[in-house]
């Protein structure tokens, strides 16, 4: 009797479950094994925190993927509706514009890329080690200077900069949109072809180079590729405290109400 005949008599769900449990068993063993020899921690309380952070990061990636998936399906469903009334077509066109404005749509076009990396210079005797690392302030300065030079969309290592983006330090690394990023930091900007020329002419940018690259050896490099790609923002756009303010031509509410509402 051939294997196919034999296995076809085993219910397929049992085969699938069996394979899954086998795989699970291997992975649990591998996970436990991988924890043993890596004794690089300096304190006992660190190890569970690293595990927690790792799991949370994995969950974040899955949630972001789910958000991008749903947004894609919603966009497709809304546009499939477009066969009907002109008002629906018009709303869909406005929705696309609004999504572009919010950073929800990946873009491609002209622009530039700047890369920041930690210094390789030895720390001077009277200096702080953190001065030799790229910090959130450095990244924010580059982002601010890019906007000022005419950038129309900016991303840091695949995190799109939006109206809600915060860039903060966490140890020697940074969080952008609460996503953990490690150097080197690639800052991609969509903008006019002369964006790099405009950036280089900015006194604020010249100051950054002098104060960080020349003094502490922070590594700064540039690229002007034929085209740059900006990723979509994969976070939340649902606001909880801000509500639409009616335009002045609308009928005003009957009486002023307490702050909560909507």
């Amino acid at each position: 009797m051939n294997l196919a005949g034999r296995t076809s008599r085993v219910p397929s769900w049992q085969l699938t479950l069996g394979a899954a449990l086998l795989g699970l068993g291997f992975l649990v063993a591998a996970q436990l094994a991988s924890e043993g020899p890596r004794v690089r921690y300096t304190s006992q309380e660190r190890s569970p925190l690293v595990e927690t952070a790792t799991v949370l990061q994995a969950q974040q990636e899955q949630l972001k993927a789910q958000i991008l998936d749903r947004r894609g399906r919603i966009g497709a469903t809304e546009q499939a509706d477009a066969g009907s009334a002109a008002v629906v077509r018009e709303l869909n066109a406005q929705l696309l514009d609004a999504r572009i404005a919010a950073g929800l749509i990946p873009l491609t076009g002209t622009g530039m890329v700047i890369q920041l990396d930690d210094s390789l210079q030895p720390v001077a005797p009277d200096a702080n080690q953190s001065d030799y690392l790229v910090g959130a302030r450095d990244v924010r300065t580059v982002v601010e200077e890019l906007w000022s030079a005419g950038a129309e969309a900016v991303a840091v290592n695949e995190e799109r900069i939006t109206p809600s983006t915060a860039i903060i330090d966490v140890g020697p690394s940074i969080l952008v949109n609460s996503a953990y990023l490690a150097p080197p930091y690639q800052i991609t900007a969509l903008g006019p072809k002369d964006l790099y020329a405009r950036l280089s002419a900015s006194p604020g940018f010249v100051d950054l180079i002098r104060a960080r690259a020349q003094t502490y050896g922070i590594r700064v490099s540039f690229a002007e590729p034929e085209s740059v790609n900006l990723p979509a923002f994969a976070g939340t756009v649902t606001l909880r405290y801000a509500h639409p303010e009616p335009s002045p031509s609308a009928v005003p509410a009957a009486a002023p109400s307490a702050s909560a509402g909507g």
Partner: protein, 215 residues
């Protein structure tokens, strides 16, 4: 079965990531890791809520389609939500009003805005100008411009969001206001919770001229 598959999937990701990020997190102290975990937790909760919102929207759109109805109400609601987030709609809500006296510089003002965003600010204006991508405060002390206009002294900054968190993030010991007191001694910052702020829409064109969607 689904639980096993999910656990399997999660373990695969964790296994790969532990190997990669054991090294990535090596430079973080316990304190840094605690901050990171708090941030990731808060963010993941937000993302889960967004997934739930999107799932509900998808369900409504699908059931409308089944009935042959056009989803005009859903489209309008979606449009308003995205425009509000982007800064294309004026916003109202609870928040804080911040007044800055003295020779502040563009960098410090941007640090303040960054801190507010980190604490959950959902809409921010400086001198009545809605902050959206492209609008930045630049310039030396007392010479700050925003979107090409001089910012003046005092500067008024409004932020819609949770007033306690917004205030707390600025006024906590070692927080931004304490840091400014050390680096900018001539600058004074007042933070006042407000029941109802109104923040105008941007009048900037937020559609890029140098790029197009990569769908």
């Amino acid at each position: 079965m689904t639980a096993v598959a999910f656990a399997l999937g999660l373990l695969v990701v964790v296994q790969l990531r532990t190997q990669a990020s054991g090294a990535a997190f090596a430079g973080l102290s316990s304190q840094d890791l605690t901050v990171l975990v708090a941030n990731l937790n808060a963010r993941n909760d937000q993302l889960r809520r967004e997934v739930a919102t999107l799932d509900r929207e998808l369900t409504t759109l699908d059931s409308n389609k089944q009935r042959g109805d056009a989803s005009i109400d859903e489209l309008r609601a979606d449009l308003q939500r995205v425009r509000l987030y982007a800064g294309s709609e004026a916003a109202n809500g609870v928040g804080v009003s911040i007044v800055i006296h003295g020779p502040i510089d563009g960098s410090a003002l941007e640090d303040l805005v960054n801190e507010l965003r980190n604490a959950g600010a959902e809409a921010i204006s400086v001198g009545g100008i809605r902050l959206v991508p492209g609008v930045v405060a630049i310039g030396g002390p007392g010479k700050v411009t925003l979107d090409g206009q001089a910012v003046g002294d005092p500067v008024e900054l409004d932020a819609i969001g949770p007033p306690d968190k917004l205030t707390g993030s600025l006024t906590r010991s070692g927080g931004l206001i304490a840091q400014l007191a050390a680096t900018h001694p001539k600058v004074a910052v007042e933070v006042t919770p407000v029941d109802r702020l109104v923040i105008p829409a941007t009048d900037r064109n937020l559609i890029p001229a140098n790029g197009h969607p990569r769908l």
